[in-house]
Amino acid sequence: MENTAAIMPRIVTPVGPCSAAHADWASGKSAALPAKIRMTNVQKRFSVRGRPVEALGGITVDIADHEFFTIVGPSGCGKTTLLRILAGLEGMTDGSIEISRELASEASAVRPINAMVFQEQSIFPWMTVRDNVALGLKARGLSKRSRYAAVEPHICKVGLEAFADALPHQLSGGMKQRVAIARALANDPEILLMDEPFSALDEQTKLILEEELLRIWEETRKTVVYVTHSIDEAIMISDRIMVMSARPGRIKDVIDVGALFPRPRNMDAVKASPRYGELFNRIWHELREEVFASRAGIQG
């Protein structure tokens, strides 16, 4: 029997702005900023019909504060599992995750650590757009009046002010994901987790929402961990891209996109750049290798 004891992310709250805890965190490419999320040898095993399956083979990476960090990998590599572990929805088998909070104050004490935007339809069909966006605030015990006041700007930010009282079945797929994004932002989390939020949408809607996400993110600069299978999407929106290997998921490559394409970023300019093609190919070849490797593994 596998050890299923869930190890959950540890929340580190520094006591002051010059906390000693930050000093040794400065490492690697994100040297200028303290690590917001520090993952050390994160492993996940589970058993399928009694046979152990290694989903994550030890992930060690630091994600900086205000960084847009994207994970790409072949399907089944454990990228969604990693995100769910970060979200506290699943435990890890080994390793540790430290998430540093902002300064300990009354405000940060009630601020949630993370909010997740899920891949599939995750907004509640029986709640209006407004109530869906206000979900996290209701869970925190805010009164109806104050949570409605608080969500209004977020509903406007995603362009749904005319639909605030609508029920989700009256909305298109793209609008539903906007609601999910507004819901996550309204909860004002320390980190935003996004699991292929646009993968179920049509290509044009997806492009428009990517642009909007980029615009909203540039306003808020929240730390984002974003999982996608789209190389193009990863290049467009990320500061860094982590390429994962086939199962068991390990880090194959970490690419500093921010160094190539500074912000604020213009999507058209990025696509027109020859470096875009080079980057795309680099990631594609890495992924292709992994897909073939995992196929050989199945046949062998």
Partner: protein
Amino acid sequence: MSMQEARGQVVIMQPELGGTRGPSRRQLERVLSVGSPVALLAMWEGAAWLGKIDTRFFPAPSGIFQEFLTLLQGTELLRDVGVTLSRLAIGFLIGAIPGILIGLAVGLFGPVRAIVSPLVDAIFPIPKIAILPLFLMIFGLGETSKYAIVAVAVIFLVLINTASGVRNIDRIFLDVARNYNAGRMMVFWDIALPGALPSILTGLKLGMGIALVVIISAEFVGAQSGIGYMIWSSWQTLQVEKMYVGLMVISVVGFVAAMVLTLLERVLMPWKRGD
């Protein structure tokens, strides 16, 4: 190769004209569904007048209607209908409300499920009317035993359907609730209850069907009033037309109850309406 083939063929497509000519298929179906019961009644009436059927068992519909009008003059029919309706309504509520609440708890919380489900599994298969003698013994011949038997008939169906409704709520919704730190009360009222509503209403509809069966049977043997009592006593005194009036009234009660529940469904679940 003939000339025609060489020239190829042109297929001409034109809008259908059928929609504007004569009654549409839907109109025809509506006429048929009103027509079939009317036709049956007319045949029954005719056969009764012509002496083709035994009017001791199948009195003419006009005779039954006549009896209905006569009974409306008196207080007996209205009292019986009122008594049965109040037994149904009170018993239904006593069964349905705890059925929903316990069902939600069973669906959400493992320990509650472990405690409740063996009891439900053991008691549910008993035909509820079989418990009537026990209830008559415990609660006496008064109204309480009628409420109790209806409540017991309703609670199991509502509980089982509610619990399975909660179990069938998309996992993603519970993940969202966890991710947003929703408390138990919020999960119970804002997620489990609305999420299970479609199943809850199915349970209520099934429960209402069983409740009708149970209350009428209970009134056959264990009551001195109600529609069931009226049917049973008409049979014993061979007042066949009055018995048919009783059957007609139950049919209307069942129909209206189903309609009320369908209306409730539309009001409670606006997101299930396609617009």
